[in-house]
Symmetry: C2
Subunit: 311 residues, 2 copies
């Protein structure tokens, strides 16, 4: 089958990848469209040391022809971490299962291919109201909604969002800060959208700062924006080590919260209700065999979502 | 007067420093004894660029002969930060006043001298039940108690404490981890005291990890101990930048909380009630003019509290 593979020398398209062999509790899905995420770009640069088919944002059809997508963390459902989730004690904790594989990220082939094998229990049907191009955003929207979930109430709280899209439906007073006008122009009208070239010129006035820049400068910039005892939400995973001053975190008693995946149900419900116009975030669309060009487009500074059509 | 000064070439004792001239709302105190804190060692290495008399843990006598100590943050009491504290809306926020000076740390001479000038409103009387050697610990104990305050309830929670003393009276299940047996031997009997040379051999099993190592290895070690969605409390201020991998914070949704100063009242009450035997933490005692030897003793790996007697 055709597939976009992350190898030693970066991204490669092949038409000769073996079709997945199903494991226990797995379902074979025919992929329709997949999105390129900043994490894919990081993986191509060596983050996590991943080797295999990329892709963890996608729309597919199952063997009954239903339109579906799937959560990306395949947990063992047996360890203490998974059981604490299942018991209701710590909802969502199974996403941190120490035995997990992660679709297109960790020890599991992803969806930029003709076919993908996923854990049957991770499959979600896509309601008719959400078309394919919007449904690609279920996974990234779930991750974006996770930020507000972790923060608890942020109604009327001054928040700065660096580099991406978050908190727009949370009731927070959101200021978008970024270097790319074409991205900022996409902020929902209810957000106080501004283009700030040097985040440090803003001063330390935000109770919450979300760093979703995907860049090494995101965390230092966030430290320059957050007020004492304020909160930085880290969404950015950057490959490798980088030089950081941690003393401002201590002196100013800043709280830093790492934020990764979210639950799919609220994201699907939000898209179904038309609460977010996600298709405006699409930068460009390519066929699967144009993967090289697609990744080039997604790597351009300020680029939004790039789609890969797989059938 | 005599003083221990932090200058370009590190620590220096002088007997010819000018006696403080009092500013508005200031009180002159005759210093009896001061403690050397890890922060003082960091300042001597260039942290914060401080130049002046060191010392922010001390016991003194005021002009009425009362035994006193003083909080270290001299806030302006006028800005929005200070007013949010005074209104009761955000207790303790004045410690983050953007216009503050900090005793022996930021734009204000400290207490390793014959005399020290402090904000009169920062002065606390020391009850008779707390002798001078214990009273030196009011400031560091206040900072230690701040950890539990920030965490909220930690009753029966598995906590690891790296390099120092925290959470012992919080009801948490505390494991001490450190490289120095002589320090670990000091842990209260109710703590599960263990000597772990390589923190990473423990595995990621602690809901809370406190890094009070004063060392660059503290944060990476804490990341190796904290469970997914767990909390790292950063007490360590290390001079300069250092290389850090932030991606585990994101992937494991770790919460990092910076922790600095605490309120003096609970620390004074705890010492008065005999809840902590702090004098066991004293490593050595010197006269003020022996400051060079005292700082040498305090810099020894594994060293506990070193006192400087000023009268």
């Amino acid at each position: 089958m055709r597939a976009v593979v992350c190898g030693e020398s970066g991204i490669e398209f092949t038409s000769e990848f073996a079709r997945p062999v199903l494991g226990i509790n797995q379902t074979l899905l025919r992929v329709r469209v997949a999105g390129i995420c900043d994490t894919d770009l990081q993986l191509a640069r060596g983050y996590m040391g991943f080797r295999g088919i990329l892709g963890h944002e996608f729309v597919a059809r199952d063997d009954r022809g239903r339109r579906v997508t799937a959560e990306i963390n395949h947990s063992c459902r047996r360890c203490a971490t998974c059981l604490a989730d299942r018991s209701g004690e710590r909802p969502g904790l199974a996403r941190h299962c120490p035995n997990r594989t992660v679709l297109g990220i960790l020890n599991q082939h992803g969806a930029m291919a003709d076919w993908v094998a996923v854990d049957s229990r991770n499959v979600h049907a896509i309601p008719d109201e959400i078309d394919d191009r919007a449904a690609v955003f279920i996974e990234p929207l779930a991750a974006a909604l996770r930020v507000a979930e972790q923060l608890g109430g942020v109604e009327k709280v001054d928040c700065a969002v660096l580099g991406a899209w978050a908190l727009e439906d949370s009731g927070a007073l959101v200021t978008w800060i970024g270097k790319h006008p074409e991205k900022l122009a996409l902020a929902e009208s209810k957000a106080d959208t501004r283009l700030v070239e040097d985040a440090r010129s803003e001063g330390r006035k935000y109770a919450v700062v979300v760093d979703a820049t995907g860049s090494k400068s995101g965390f230092p910039d966030a430290l320059g924006l957050v007020e004492p005892r304020g909160t930085i939400v880290l969404k950015t995973t950057v490959a490798g080590r980088h030089e950081i001053m941690l003393s401002p975190v201590v002196v100013d008693e800043v709280r830093v919260i790492g934020s990764r995946c979210g639950a799919f149900e609220p994201a699907i419900a939000a898209l179904r209700a038309g609460r977010f116009d996600v298709t405006r975030l699409i930068e460009a669309e390519f066929r699967l065999d144009e993967a090289a060009r697609a990744f080039e487009a997604a790597s351009r500074p300020g680029a939004r979502k790039v789609l890969l059509w797989c059938d």
